[in-house]
Amino acid sequence: MSAVPGLKEDCEELLGAFQQADTVRFERFAELWRERRFHTIFYGRMRALERNKITKKTLDVAQQYFFPPYSFQIRVGALYLLYGLYNAQLCQPKQKIRIALKHWPEIQKFQLDLLDAQHYDAVYIFRRLRLARAFHFTAMPKLLTYRTKKKIEKNYFKEEFKDPSNRVNSLITNDVLEELMNIHDHYQKMKCVISADKSQPDKALSLIKDDFVVNLKDITLEHQEWQQNRMKLLQNAKVAPETEDKKKEETLLKSEGSERANALARIKYKSYSAVVEVSRSRRHRQVQLESSESGPSCGKSPGRSKKASRTPQPARRSSSEVRGEMQVAEETVTQHIGMPIIIEEDSEE
């Protein structure tokens, strides 16, 4: 289905405003909805067939925000948005919201979370939708249509709406830590059993750090905190770029990022500029440093001029290019390091 122009942007704008409001109350969402007169999204003189199509597409766009990996607040916002759109639509009988089979466990879990957190307005809204029979229970999320697409539209996630990617957390969960602890204890016990002194393992058997599980847990927690702080800084930086403090935070963020980039660049430069002299047996295949920048000298010609020499030297142009790049890198975050290219010397020795 071809996208409705501007629809995704409008939804994201509304959800973004809701996220800024930093609340999950329906009253706040309703205010934002009324401010924008969002119900007019369905206006425009259309015949019934087109109206059905557009409504279907609108509901489809909105329901995407209802599932992970979007953050909790965005998902509540999506629920309110679906409620608003479903009731504001002009189709008769109403177009339904398609929910795929695989999403239902997530939705039920979400509902339980809402109940636990006592967000009764959200629960009520969901219940109202269920009672109104607003859902189609489908096997697959997208309804198929058959038109040759010029290009497949990639589904991209708006970064700010996403939950911070907690890959570390999903890898090192509580269960994993618990199991590690158990295995570690078991291991220690086994060591004791086979040692001479039954109360503690032999010195020769101490091959690992004993408290590594605790350390792992601490490191994970630290990472999580760092990530949360960073997200907060990012959000604040985006919201009020005029403030003096925010500027500092921005440069702090940027410099944090560019510091790391510079450190990386420095390491790479060191490793790639130091070209190893090859052993005598392979002296016909000297390594030469070439920048992969565009330029007519790249490729064959430096190889030719260095035929006779045994000690490799970086081709003059390329090294200065590389150094020049380094300076540029200090000012901006992006940098580009030349990769060494091994030139095949001509066969004569």
């Binding site: 019934a48 067939l49 059905n52 009988p93 109403k94 339904k96 398609r98 029979r133 189609h136 229970f137 489908t138 096997a139 697959m140 309804l143 198929l144 249509t145 058959y146 040759t148």
Partner: protein
């Protein structure tokens, strides 16, 4: 999809569709007769219930090749037989996921898929076990299907239709809940009907080849113009030609 049957309820309560019934949306593509259809194949969209047998779908598919009347009738135009191909050649099969579902309800039905199965078994062609079973024994709930994957419906020996399942969902309160109306046609591609060459008004019913009286080959005529041009008042054949009854693809519009 909007349809005339939305929200309908049956008169007889035993015909009411129960909760939990599955609703499948199928696109059945017409066989490519016209070259212009090659890129955007026309299709009809049918809603079918999970509990319905495959034979119910087969009976609901309307294809022009079913109505063909075989034979050359220039010498006896009044005796074009009553039988249409649908009555003569009753065999058909569906192909889903490696299994051929053959219509075996009538004694005239043959296993059209046997040729294919023998072909695939003759050499190691990389197709796993292809099976052949009876269409009337299976309902859609018994099948395992892929959404969006092309399957096949073949009838009349060589008339092949691609079938694609676009959606499977649970039946909903607002759907048509009268079981008798399923399989339900919700969308149909409209085909241009070919008009008589002479009067340009009526749909063509005859087609002639090697016709000395016609300006082009083949040439299409409605019944009246055909007789007026090719036969005299006594019904004698005038000129040389071959005439075949013609069924227009747009007959189902």
């Amino acid at each position: 999809q909007e349809s005339h049957a939305t929200g309908k309820r049956p008169d007889n309560p035993t015909d009411l569709i129960e909760e939990g019934e599955l609703l499948l949306t199928l696109n059945i593509f017409y066989p490519v007769i016209f070259q212009k259809h090659k890129d955007h194949k026309p299709y009809q969209t049918v809603l079918v219930l999970g509990s319905q047998k495959l034979t119910e779908l087969r009976d609901s598919i309307s294809c022009v090749s079913d109505l063909q009347i075989g034979g050359e009738f220039s010498s006896q135009p009044d005796q074009a037989p009553e039988h249409i191909s649908k009555d003569l050649y009753k065999s058909a099969f569906f192909y889903f996921e490696g299994i051929f579902y053959n219509d075996k309800r009538y004694p005239e039905c043959r296993d059209l898929s046997r040729t294919i199965i023998e072909w695939s078994e003759s050499h190691d062609r990389g197709y796993e076990n292809l099976q052949s079973v009876k269409m009337e024994d299976y309902s859609f709930n018994d099948l395992s299907l892929k959404i969006g994957f092309p399957y096949l419906y073949c009838h009349q020996g060589n008339c092949e239709h691609i079938i694609i399942i676009t959606d499977i969902r649970l039946i909903h309160h607002d759907d048509c809940l009268d079981r008798n109306l399923y399989p339900l046609l919700v969308k149909k591609h409209w085909l241009c009907t070919r008009k008589c060459f002479v009067c340009k008004m009526y749909t063509a019913r005859w087609v002639t080849n090697r016709d000395s009286l016609a300006p082009e080959d083949p040439c299409f005529f409605c019944d009246v113009c055909f007789r007026m041009l090719h036969y005299d008042a006594e019904g004698n054949k005038l000129g040389e030609f071959l005439a075949y009854p013609y069924v227009d693809p747009g007959i189902f519009n």
